[in-house]
Symmetry: C2
C-alpha cells in the first residue's frame, strides 16, 4: 500500500477519459487530497454543478487547465480568445472557492503557436505579453493567478511560443507577482541548462504559481504531445529540480499531469494508484525537506 | 534555372543514400561549389582515396560530420570515443587540405545523450567539456576547429546534452576560439528566445565555426530525427537568423543538412536541385548583405 503524499494533486488530464464525477471520486478514494481540473469536463456539467461536486468531494483545487492560445494578431479570433480567457478566470475563481481549505486559484496559460503562415516568432511572443496585459485586471479582480506555462521547445511552432522558464518570467515581470506567475513543469524544462537558476529566480520573484511533475523518456511517441510518463518512469532528475523548488519556499500542491495514450487507457483508479506510487518514490523524498503549510493557504 | 548561391554547401547527409563519388558528382554537376562530408562514406573508400576524389571534384570542403558522443563516464567506452574523435580530427585536416581554395577544417561534434540508466544531466555536460579539453591539443596541432553543435532540446536525453547555442559557447569559452567553436544550425536553435543574442555573442567571441540551414515543420514525423525540410519548406525565419549571422562578419560557406526520409528517397541530383532552389529563395537574399570573401580563406 502506497503512502499518499499529502501534497500530491492529480491533474485531471492524467485520467483524461474520466468524467468529472469519476475523476473526483477516484482521486478522493485513493486518499489523494487535491485535484487540478480541466475546462472541458467542468463545462460538460456546468460551472455551478462542477463547483458543488468539487465542494462535496472535499478535495483541494490546485489549478484550472487551461486557457491562453492568444498569439494571433488583432481581430475577431483574438477577441474571442481574450473573452474565453475571461470565462476561464471566472471558472478558476469559482472552483478555488469551492475546493477544500488550501485550494489555490491558479489558471494555467498555454500561449499558442505561430499563427497560420507566419514565421514571426518574436511578434507572436509580444502578442502573448499583450494578451496577458489585457487579462491582468480581470484576474486581479477575481483573485486569480495566471500561470504562464513554458512548453518544451518541440512545441514552439504549433502550440506554445513560450519555451523556457526564463522567458515566462521575463513576460511575467511586467505584472504583479500575485496576478501573473509561471507553471514549473518538469517535462517541459528539465533539459534547460539554466533550469536551476531559473527556478531560483522564479522563487525570488514570487512567481511559482504551480509545480507539476511527470517524466520524459525516449523514443518519443508518434504524437510528441503524448510522451509523458509517471514520475520515475523516465530520465528526469526529480531530486535536483524538486530541491530547487523546495528551496524557494514553495509549499503548495504538486500536480502530476500526464498525456499518454497507454495511461489514458488504464482504468482511472489504477492510473491514480500508479501516479501516487511513482510520486511517492520519485518526488516525495525531495519534498520532505520543506514541510507543507497547506492549511495557511486558501 | 536556379542561380546557385556561391556560398551554398551541400551537406552529404541531405543525400544520405549517395556514395561519396555520387555525392561529389551531383554536387559539382549542379554548380554548387562546396560540400560537407560524413565520416562513414569517407571511410567506405578510405581517407586517402576520399581526399583525392574531393580534390578531383574541385569542390570546397566545408565541414566533416561528425564526431563527439563522449558523455559516458571514464572507462573503455570513453577511451574508444576519444580515440575515434582523434581519427576524425585527422580526417578533417586531410579533407580540408584536399578541398578547393576556401575549404575549412571544421569537425562537427554532437555531444551524445545521457548514459544508460543515468539522470545526471549536469554530470554528462561536464564530461563534454572534459572530452573537448582532451581533444584540443590534437585539434590545434592539426589546424582543425571543433564545432560544438547544440541540438534541439527534444534530443537532450538520447543524443545531445548540449541544447542551446549559449550553452555551447559557455563550454567553448574555456578554449582558444581558433580551436573550439560552435555550429549554428537553424533547425536546432530557431525557437530559442535568446537566439539572436547568442548568435551575436558567438560572432563577438569568434566562435561561429559553421552556419547550417534547414527548416522546421510540424507535425514532426514518427522519428523526430527526420523532421527537417528544405529551406523555405517550414516556419523558420531565415531572414532574422541569417541577418544575425551576417552581422557577425561570418563570410564562409552555408551548409544545408537535411534528415528526411522523403528527401533521402529523392534522386540525389534532384534533391540537390531542390536544396539549391530553396536556399536561393529562403536564404540567399539575407546573405547578400555580406559579400563572400571565400578566396581569402584556406
Amino acid at each position: 500500500m502506497t503512502t499518499i503524499d499529502p501534497r500530491l494533486s492529480i491533474n485531471q488530464a492524467t485520467i483524461k477519459h474520466a468524467d468529472l464525477a469519476t475523476a473526483l471520486r477516484v482521486t478522493a478514494d485513493a486518499g489523494v487530497q487535491a485535484i487540478g481540473l480541466w475546462r472541458e469536463p467542468v463545462q460538460a456539467v456546468g460551472l455551478a454543478t462542477a463547483a458543488q461536486m468539487l465542494a462535496d468531494s472535499g478535495l483541494r483545487f490546485s489549478t484550472h487547465c487551461r486557457a491562453g492560445f492568444f498569439t494571433m494578431p488583432e481581430g475577431q479570433g483574438r477577441r474571442a480568445s481574450i473573452d474565453d480567457n475571461r470565462v476561464a478566470i471566472e471558472e478558476t475563481a469559482a472552483l478555488a472557492a469551492a475546493g477544500g481549505p488550501g485550494s489555490t486559484a491558479v489558471l494555467v496559460l498555454v500561449a499558442g503557436g505561430l499563427p497560420e503562415r507566419s514565421r514571426d516568432l518574436a511578434g507572436a511572443r509580444e502578442r502573448v505579453r499583450d494578451a496577458i496585459g489585457e487579462l491582468v485586471p480581470d484576474a486581479a479582480a477575481a483573485g486569480v493567478t495566471l500561470a504562464i506555462e513554458p512548453l518544451h521547445p518541440m512545441y514552439a511552432s504549433d502550440r506554445c511560443v513560450v519555451s523556457t522558464l526564463g522567458q515566462a518570467l521575463d513576460i511575467a515581470s511586467d505584472f504583479d507577482a500575485a496576478v501573473v506567475g509561471a507553471a514549473v513543469d518538469t517535462f517541459h524544462i528539465w533539459w534547460d541548462p539554466d533550469v536551476l537558476a531559473s527556478i531560483a529566480r522564479a522563487g525570488r520573484e514570487g512567481r511559482i504559481a504551480t509545480y507539476q511533475v511527470c517524466d520524459w523518456k525516449t523514443p518519443l511517441p508518434a504524437d510528441v504531445l503524448l510522451g509523458r510518463h509517471y514520475p520515475g518512469g523516465g530520465i528526469i532528475d526529480f531530486a535536483s529540480l524538486t530541491a530547487a523548488v523546495v528551496e524557494t519556499g514553495y509549499d503548495r500542491d504538486v500536480e502530476v499531469e500526464i498525456f499518454n495514450e497507454e495511461i489514458w487507457a488504464t482504468e482511472p483508479a489504477e492510473a491514480v494508484r500508479r501516479t501516487a506510487a511513482g510520486f511517492a518514490d520519485a518526488v516525495s523524498p525531495y519534498l520532505a525537506a520543506a514541510p507543507a503549510r497547506l492549511e495557511s493557504r486558501s
